[in-house]
Amino acid sequence: MALNNIYNDILMDHNMHPDHKHKLTAASDYKVAINPQCSEDEVLIKKGINPSCGDEIVLEINVENNIIKDAAFNGQGCAVSQASTDIMAELVIGKSVEEALALTDLFIKMVRGEETDEKKLEQLDEAVALKDVAHMPARVKCAVLAWHTLSEMLKERQNK
């Protein structure tokens, strides 16, 4: 399998120029949003870590009326983990919490090679660029880090 299928233009572009890699909230007190669109009680923040490789991201989202209004991240990791996070942020902005959860589920199935129906995968938009990670099991954890983190933070919100 050509590795360039994974390190393709879409992934490389999101890795080198991530639109959503910034702070959504003040680092000292993340309840106080610096983004004027964020109201105090609607900012969620969660850290995701891959302990075996040390990749870590801090994911922040702003939910208003059950819609993800904004998403941002910080952290460090390989190109696969960073690009995957940026692509995910782009995808879920404007989606409802339920839609975002369905998308994370679909993405995780795709990179595990469990879902290959191209019609269904179209919903993932640019995230389809990470499909071939399924052929590189050692890197699956890099691709799914952000998606797992988002899924967990949304489920925690639902359970509150």
């Binding site: 590795l3 390190y7 080198m16 490789c53 040390g54 990749d55 990791g77 390989c78 190109a79 890197r139």
Partner: protein, 404 residues
């Protein structure tokens, strides 16, 4: 293919592969694989227990291997050679049993920031159990612990010094003999982690005068699952056993037991005789190649890799600038490319290296890099492998950041 690669079936089956992850594990030559197969075909039985000829053959194979290992590292007595699963287990035994023997609250244990997690976490745990302090030594810019650094940290409370002989990231060898002498003059017991030293340098534990020396078979052409703990008899006899159960006992009644003599006190349960036989064969193999050849080839390869990579302005190499002192290990980063991406893209070009924290996270933070790539050479590697590595580094950098 060079004559040395030809000894290794994996190399014969993967002619295009530049295997540069020898610090993680070395490949196994025919001589070792055949010795293990012959043992299981001709001698396998439970050693030490069976009252029949085949068991005696297994026992002889096990004990003859011990003799060979003792001679290989010049251990004064065979009973001072304990079989373990790997260097990590050896280090755990020392940290657990020696700390039980020596430590009181407020005592101090000295280790270095360069330690592999295997020589760090067991001491963190030991310090916690005994309310002792874990104190770190820091290297100079070349990756060496100076005698001044050691002297400044030693005190009347320092009971144990546990130090790597060769760093698994920086490749630098500590002046361990001198450091041991200083520690001994302070009545400090010294344990040496030799996992990365023994594949690259002749070890003489008697001359070093270390109290303990640990290593793994699989990093020196032997199979995985066999390791060695050398310890001075005086300490091993006083230390409590680590694992208890079968074959490590002398006499057992309902409430108490007495323990077997050395080395069996530390060898509970049925042992890895095939592994011991494989380790003995690996010693024969290394001696047939000779340390002179091994050292000469690995030094030349480290120097070539270090010199070529250091010419690339976007590459940072960690450790001594004299690459002949790297013992086959070149740790580096390509500016702007994460080591995991480097390792994956190296793989696409048939080059196997490791990227990550190398089980040395505190050292990574000390070096301010968090992660790095590590190319590690063995004597069977050659200039062609190094050239492939260097070409791949150039390609990966240009793939991420355009041609330089």
């Amino acid at each position: 293919m060079n004559q040395y690669k030809n000894y290794f079936p994996i190399m014969r089956h993967n002619k295009n592969l530049a295997y540069l992850d020898n610090a993680a594990t070395t490949q196994k030559p025919d001589m070792v694989i055949d010795a293990i197969a012959d043992y299981y075909k001709q001698k396998n039985a439970n050693p030490l227990r069976g009252l029949y000829e085949l068991s005696q053959k297994a026992t002889d194979a096990y004990e003859n291997a011990r003799k060979k290992i003792a001679a290989f590292i010049n251990a004064p007595k065979e009973q001072e050679i304990i079989y373990t699963r790997n260097a990590s287990e050896s280090l755990n035994i020392i940290a657990y049993c020696l700390s039980d023997l020596l430590l009181k609250p407020d005592d101090e244990i000295l280790i270095s920031i360069m330690e592999h997690h295997s020589n760090m976490i067991p001491w963190q745990q030991a310090a916690k159990r005994h309310n002792a302090k874990l104190i770190y030594l820091y290297p100079d810019k070349n990756g060496c612990i100076t005698t001044d650094e050691l002297k400044s940290k030693l005190s009347a409370k320092t009971k144990i010094l546990s130090l790597t002989h060769v760093s698994n990231v920086l490749g630098t060898m500590q002046n361990i003999k001198e450091l041991i002498a200083i520690a001994h003059s302070n009545n400090t017991v010294v344990s040496v982690d030799g996992a990365q030293a023994i594949p690259h340098a002749k070890i003489d534990v008697d001359k070093l005068d270390c109290d303990f020396y640990s290593f793994s078979g699989h990093k020196m052409y032997a199979p995985m699952g066999i390791g060695i703990l050398y310890g001075k008899q005086t300490y091993l006899e006083k230390m409590p056993p680590f694992l208890t159960g079968g074959e490590m006992i002398d006499y057992v009644d309902e409430q108490t037991a007495t323990f077997a003599e050395l080395p069996y006190k530390f060898e509970a349960g049925t042992q890895n005789v095939g592994g011991a036989v494989g380790l003995a064969a690996a010693i024969d193999f290394m001696q047939s190649i000779s340390y002179d050849t091994i050292i000469k080839r690995e030094t030349a390869l480290s120097e070539s890799a270090g010199n070529q990579l250091s010419r690339l302005p976007y590459v940072t190499i960690y450790g001594d600038k004299d690459y002949t002192k790297h013992h086959g290990v070149i740790a580096f980063n390509i500016e702007g490319v994460h080591p995991h991406d480097v390792a994956s893209l190296m793989d696409a070009g048939d080059v196997a290296i490791r990227g990550g924290h190398h089980c040395a996270q505190p050292l990574m933070r000390y070096l301010k890099c968090n992660f790095c790539c590590r190319a590690s050479m063995a004597f069977y590697n050659d200039e062609e492998d190094i050239n492939k590595l260097v070409e791949r580094v150039k390609y990966i950098r240009s793939y991420f950041h355009g041609a330089q």
